[in-house]
Symmetry: C2
Subunit: 319 residues, 2 copies
């Protein structure tokens, strides 16, 4: 029971990348990854968990690095046929990806929890570290926009984030409990790493699950985050636009202010060196590093940087 | 209201072939096709209607003529991925075929009837004649075998008809009603054509829907059937084996005896010329023709033969 445990909090693509880096430098039993499920939805009768799948595919080295989501070598024959039949095709599910959703939906229909379905998929994909949903209860992001409230995937995929982002609610979160895996990991973790996923719609839902933010505060280990903003822009996705529309400074500093004292240490990009002292003034230790993850080496190096920051902030050596 | 109507009763492949022939020689509004649904089942969470799809695909010229089921040019990427994930793959659903099941299941989940879902698919596939399920109520074939009762697809696909066939029940049929489309077609039909589908598991379920057999008896027009047995063998599938195991003579005569006086006229194959008089002795008019349908011309010609037999048996000229 004395082996160390790093708990990563992850959304989709950025979370998957850093999770892959952590999995490259940590033994599998020293890494647990809790994933946002607030953008899960039922589509074409299938339970789709976009962030869980992004993380699983990234850990299994099956993700498509160019498109940024889904599987490498994916085909789209079902979607093409469905389009010919006049079916719903605004949310593209690849053929191989569909198999994941079919299996997950089968498991859920058979009474298994999302945690169990996720563990099964992880096992079948050969993913060794524990990957768990933030909760087994339904939580759904609803985005407040100038066009009214929108289901997350409506906003994110169908409308491609064009409406003005005014905020987001996580419907059902007040009744949600952390998944058993997340609860155990929070109890045991020697450190928590917040991956460079979208804070507003990927990490905030995890922190909003009752008990999680408190567990972070009480954690004996440090909370370390990697900035998803580099040079005033999101590494990927609409975060910059969303922060600006929400009245937050679209920068690593804006993200650091948003998380506030929930984070003890930041890894920000070399491009944001000038923001380092302002972030330190929030009471955080700051590492300035290369944070763009293109190759597996990049991911491994950034994971090592985050773990070095964990070591520096830990009350006693964690290794 | 005076236009004539031919009602075809169809199972899967043989039914689809003759239906295609009929659709080639009749105006779309003079042909209605009622299809067996007793081998429908829910697989991978999707409502699969194998016979309806075989008929729709055949009418749309989308069926695979070599494999005998499913779509031409089909791909299997979802199944391959599902197999890698350890999912259920004994019943092969092609990628393009999956789109059909997804759309049908969506419609049923939205509260539409199978008749409505079938009409939508027919329209989207460009199928002009009316195609309807025999019933909108759930009816399921359960095959009695030496290994006990088996769900139809378990017997037919998973076990490839290896268990000894002892009979079949159509669970739920006593509570089923003919679909609205079938009821209307039965009222109006100038003739009924029983296509060369498996009598035991494809046509009998249609005849077992309460009211259908009576409507056939009361019908003002003749009932004409095309034999699915040629030269003592089924044109396709396990019918010969099933008949022999059930104690029925595996021949066109055995099929004619099985349908009994429900059929007024038979089209049997030239190879079975010797059985003609024995079938006539049952009280049926018999046409001896080429009944193997390989090309569209074959299908058209056999449809014309069946319609010529209809004309000969009709109380007044139907055209």
């Amino acid at each position: 029971m004395s082996r160390r445990l790093i708990l990563a909090l992850a959304g989709g693509v950025g979370g998957g990348k850093l999770a892959r880096g952590l999995s490259a430098v940590l033994p599998p039993d020293q890494l647990a990854i809790a994933v946002n499920t607030a953008d899960d939805f039922v589509h074409l009768g299938l339970h789709v968990s976009p962030d869980i799948d992004s993380v699983l595919y990234a850990l299994a080295d099956l993700n498509d690095p160019e498109r940024g989501w889904g599987l490498a070598g994916e085909t789209w024959n079902v979607m093409t046929a469905l389009e010919r039949l006049g079916g719903e095709t605004w949310f593209k599910l690849g053929d191989r990806d569909l198999a994941t959703h079919i299996l997950r939906t089968r498991e859920l229909d058979a009474g298994r929890s999302l945690s169990e379905a996720t563990a099964l998929l992880a096992q079948r994909l050969g993913v060794a570290p524990e990957v768990m949903p933030m909760t087994d209860n339904p939580v759904r992001s609803v985005v407040q926009t100038d066009q009214g409230p929108l289901d997350f995937q409506d906003y994110f995929v169908r409308l491609q984030c064009r409406p003005v982002f005014q905020g987001v609610t996580f419907d059902g979160v007040q009744h949600a409990k952390p998944s058993e895996g997340l609860r155990r990991a929070l109890d045991r973790a020697d450190a928590i790493v917040i991956t460079p996923s979208n804070p507003l719609v990927s990490i905030d839902p995890i922190l909003a699950v009752p008990g999680v933010a408190q567990a972070l505060r009480r954690s004996r280990g440090p909370v370390v985050a990697v900035s998803p903003m580099v040079g005033g822009q999101a590494v990927k996705g609409p975060l910059g636009k969303m922060m600006a529309e929400r009245g937050l400074e679209p920068s690593a500093l804006g993200v650091a202010r948003h998380y506030g004292n929930r984070v003890d240490g930041w890894v920000i990009d070399n491009l944001d060196r000038a923001l380092g002292s302002a972030i330190e003034a929030l009471g955080c230790r700051v590492f300035v590093r290369d944070t763009i993850m293109r190759t597996l080496d990049d991911k491994r190096r950034l994971a090592q940087d985050a773990l070095a920051l964990v070591s520096e902030l830990s009350p006693a050596p964690v290794s």
